[in-house]
Symmetry: C2
Subunit: 144 residues, 2 copies
DNA sequence: TAGATTGCCGAATTATGTTCGGTCTGATGG
DNA sequence: CCATCAGACCGAACATAATTCGGCAATCTA
C-alpha cells in the first residue's frame, strides 16, 4: 500500500471504467504493471468490487431517512433481521443511547412508515426515532 | 426505465466489470443493444458513474461516526463548508431538532475529535452530537 | 396507411484486457 | 563482498471485449 496504490484507488473511485493504459500513464506505470497492482488490491480486499453509482430518485427511492433504533436486548446477532428489510441500505451498531442506526431509502414517506413498522417487529426492538433528510449536500468517496 | 433497465442497473451494481455480452445474455439482449441501453442510462443520469467499493479500514479510515450538527442559523448555503472537510463522506440537511447530519470517517478517535473542532468553526454551527459506530452490520446497494 | 422513430441483431473494426519472457533492483545470508 | 532470490517493471504477443453501423421489424404519428 504505497503512494502508487493510493493513487490508483483514488482514480478508480473517480472512474473505474478507464483503461489500464490511461491509469498507468497517470501514475507512471505500464499497462501490465498497473493491471498487476490492481489485481493485488482486489486480492487483498482493499478493492471489494467495482460497481455503479445510481441516482436513488431515478429508481424509486426518493426519500432518505436515518433511524435510531432503541432496544431492550443485545442486538449483536440481529444483523440478518435488518438485512431482511430491503429498504435498509446500511445498519450499524452504535455507542450511545440508541443501539442501532439504520439508513433507509424509500419511494415515499408512507413506505418509510411501513419500514418503521417492520423494524418494530424485530426481536428486541423497543423504539425508533426517524430523521428525514430534506436535502443532501453531497455523498462522496473516501478521502485518501 | 423498464424491467430490462432495472435488471441492468441491478446487475451492474453487483459487478460493473462484466462484459456487455454477459450482461446481455442475462437480460436477453445482444451485446450491442445492451451497450446502447447502458449508454442511455448514463446519459439520463440514472447511472452517475462507475466506481470501486473500497475497504475503509484498508485505507486508513477505520473509525466511522455520525454527527448531528446543531445550528443557530439557516444552513442551506453551507454545503461547501462541510465539503471542505475531507473526512466528511456525506452531509445532509435534516428535519428534526438538529440541522445537519454528517457521516465522518477517520483513522482514529483523535482525528474524529479534530473533525468536530473543524465543524464548530463553520459559521452558524452551535453544537454537535457524535455517535460512534462500533460495528457495521452491512452497507449495500439500493434495492430495485 | 405512409412516414418517421425506436430498439434490436449480428458482423466488422478498433481498443483493451491479460499473459509472459526478460531485465533490473534491493534484500538476504553465507 | 558476492551469490542468490524475490518482487516489480516493461514491452510485446495474444485473447477478449467495446464500439460502431447497416439493415430489419415493431410501434407511433399524422
Amino acid at each position: 500500500m504505497d503512494d502508487i496504490d493510493r493513487a490508483l484507488v483514488l482514480r478508480l473511485q473517480q472512474d473505474a471504467g478507464q483503461s489500464y493504459a490511461a491509469l498507468g500513464t497517470a501514475v507512471g506505470l505500464s499497462a501490465g504493471a498497473t493491471h498487476e497492482r490492481v489485481r493485488k488490491l482486489r486480492e487483498r480486499g482493499v478493492i471489494r468490487r467495482t460497481t455503479i453509482d445510481v441516482d436513488p430518485a431515478a429508481v424509486g427511492s426518493g426519500v432518505l431517512a436515518y433511524v435510531m433504533v432503541d432496544s431492550n436486548a443485545w442486538m449483536g446477532e440481529s444483523g440478518d433481521d435488518f438485512a431482511a428489510i430491503p429498504e435498509i441500505q446500511e445498519a450499524h451498531i452504535i455507542a450511545g443511547s440508541a443501539s442501532v442506526l439504520v439508513k433507509v431509502r424509500t419511494a415515499s414517506t408512507g413506505q418509510l412508515q411501513d419500514v418503521l413498522r417492520r423494524l418494530y417487529a424485530i426481536n428486541g426492538v423497543s423504539g425508533t426515532h426517524a430523521t428525514v433528510v430534506l436535502e443532501t449536500f453531497f455523498e462522496r468517496p473516501l478521502p485518501l
